[in-house]
Subunit: 406 residues, 2 copies
């Protein structure tokens, strides 16, 4: 991965302090240790799932689904995967029925993922699916040790996998939560972790990313009152769900009351896909309020050599400049053109990330890069990056409504 | 459609002025007249496409694809459609190949949509597909009268349909651009236009929406410096692509230099889907910076009575409150709970839109509602709602790059 910043900031005491804070967090926050975890129990678990199973269905929402979806959708078009992966993550009845129509219940294994074991969406869907498929051997439960869900799973003699300690939902993709569904589909989770590990080492062991991540987070934090919208502009359709994962990670981690002042702060994430969103959101970036930073993601080599043919269309000869161009070169030229156009404008902080190709290692790198960046920015804008107190109020109101409707 | 505003603002001279401006725009801006257009030529055209054609593929980007996609994806899960609809809208080679693997070229009709006839993405893809399917009768071209593309289409004796005058891409879904692909799939475009017509009349003929749309646009415009992020939180997975259409409409229309001052202004659109995004973006709305308004969209009746079964799970008895609840009721309870939780917070302007059910008429209404709202806000924040000068710079740079790579 290469990351080039087109803005500057000087590292000083604040950066040193943030780096030390992350060093310290490694002792208590679980996600930092995930790249080096032992995955033998996951591999062993995967072997218990019969080869007659053709589909894996995750029943889970938010942090329980977005990470695996990001990786799966990135790799699916280029890899010959062993199984298909589905996500039941909405209480929308039309959506539930549409997903069910795509799978064969007899050839599907369900992963019910809930940290606490009381997520309303997950259990509404689980109860419904259980009424269609009562066989306990078709389900595996992923939950915290000792949770009510674990007790239930034991009572029906279903398989149970445990979440590691102190790994929040949105930081859990590299734990069993993401690794199990991905491994069951035949995705190389070792390579995924290796990609994450590279980024981790580069940052903590004073490698290439040490200064870059500190500079970027310091710039975002220092200027968060002005540049409070952070666009991720990815030039690859395959990164669409990575953008959704990023939106959760960034928004839920960095939209908070400050620890010291209880003042509302927040950085708003926007996920964009190029070149499509050049025809949508670009106008707003170019000419709208100067409140947005933009990070471009490019794929150096799509490893696919489909080309624009050498055809001249009558009356459209001006388009001959496209002839013989590989699409992978065109899409990157489009990205570079947008970057150059934005560089001419004032007050739009830009940077660009390039990954060499579409594979498990590279998406692992992107994931860990963004997790570290989130932790750094959270520390620097003085919020608790790892909680989400703001989502509780609606849950309590729903609980009351449900009780009264009984 | 019902629309309830949970904020207040007083209508006065400014509102009257904006209303009159829109009345005047009706003479020059084409989209206002679309609900009452004569569609007999579209119906006649559709009959020329053989019944052996099973798929329709749009080759187009931005305004040429987002609208039809929004309507198609909204109706697809509930209607028994005649044909499938695909969208070639990216130069990403992996995406092009993945789409091609899903269609049978012999049973596909392609709609090449480009106003000017020089959109780089559209012609890169068209040239490639032409090399696989050379038969001109498999293509219809939708373009401006007299464009270079029309001349080309004539030279190969392909069918041509014309865009109406003065309808910009992002306001074109109710013109041939959207109606043709939708009608070919068997979607009731008459009902779609009837839904739009209802909203138009309600606004212009002093109906229910007259005051509501003026109040809402006035509030957004007056407070645009503070509430410059406008979230659309739709409680239905089927509205996912409607949100993408909204993002283009809002961002590209309202992110501009002001007409009178050349000052950068802009309203940033965010599309959210509930309940999924309760587990993602909600934290940022609840506790983040007070710079966001939120509009909820609910579907009153999903016309689908799948229910949560009356099951008790050992150790998870607290979830029995869900038993016997229809999913359509649960999802709306979730939406109401989030609204109530946000109402307790200060400084988060809310409103809610309810449509009775998922059908063509209702999505037509939603589309026209948002088009009118965009026109009103654009007028009130003093921008040219209908141009997009900011996207030209990158196009010029790309053109140069392409010429030099020859």
């Amino acid at each position: 991965m290469k990351n080039r910043l087109h803005f500057n900031t000087t590292l000083g005491e604040k950066a040193k302090h943030a780096f030390n804070a992350l060093q310290k967090e490694k002792e208590s926050i679980g996600y930092y240790a995930l790249p080096e975890q032992d995955i033998s129990h996951i591999t062993a678990y995967c072997e218990t799932i019969p080869s007659s199973i053709e589909s894996i269905a995750v029943i889970g929402i938010g942090g329980s689904s977005l990470g695996a979806k990001a990786v799966y959708e990135f790799l699916k078009p280029v890899e010959n995967l062993r199984r298909k992966l589905y996500f039941f993550e909405s209480t929308d009845p039309i959506n539930i029925k549409s997903l069910l129509s795509q799978i064969d219940l007899e050839k599907t294994h369900f992963l019910v993922i809930s940290k606490s074991g009381t997520t309303v969406e997950t259990f509404a869907i689980y109860k419904y699916i259980l009424s269609l498929q009562a066989n306990a051997s078709c389900y595996t439960f992923i939950t915290d040790p000792g949770s009510a869900l674990e007790k239930y799973a034991k009572s029906v003699q279903a398989q149970i996998l445990h979440l590691p300690d102190n790994v929040g939902g949105r930081f859990s993709v590299l734990s069993v939560v993401g690794l199990v569904p991905l491994a069951l589909c035949g995705i190389d989770i070792k390579a995924l972790l290796a990609g994450a590990s590279k980024i981790k080492n580069s940052f903590f062991e004073d490698g290439y990313l040490h200064d870059i991540l500190l500079k970027k987070s310091l710039f975002y934090a220092k200027n968060h009152a002005q540049y409070h919208i952070n666009c991720l502009f990815a030039y690859s359709e395959s990164l669409k769900y990575f953008c959704e994962w990023y939106v959760q990670l960034w928004g839920e981690s960095l939209g908070k009351k400050q620890r010291s002042s209880a003042f509302h702060v927040g950085l708003t994430p926007i996920g964009l896909i190029g070149p499509k969103d050049q025809h949508s959101f670009l106008q707003l970036i170019m000419e709208g309020t100067r409140d947005k930073s933009v990070t471009f993601i490019q794929i150096e080599d799509f490893e696919d050599e489909i080309k624009i043919p050498n055809t001249t269309l009558a009356h459209l000869e001006s388009l001959d400049t496209l002839n013989n161009l590989p699409f992978s070169q065109l899409i990157n030229m489009q990205c570079n053109s947008v970057m150059e156009a934005l560089k001419v404008e004032e007050n739009i902080p830009l940077d660009s990330i390039t990954i060499p190709k579409i594979d498990a290692e590279n998406i692992g790198s992107l994931i860990f890069y963004y997790e570290l960046l989130t932790s750094l920015v959270g520390e620097l804008i003085d919020v608790n990056t790892y909680d989400q107190p703001g989502v509780e109020a609606a849950k309590i109101i729903l609980k009351k409504k449900l009780t009264h409707s009984l």
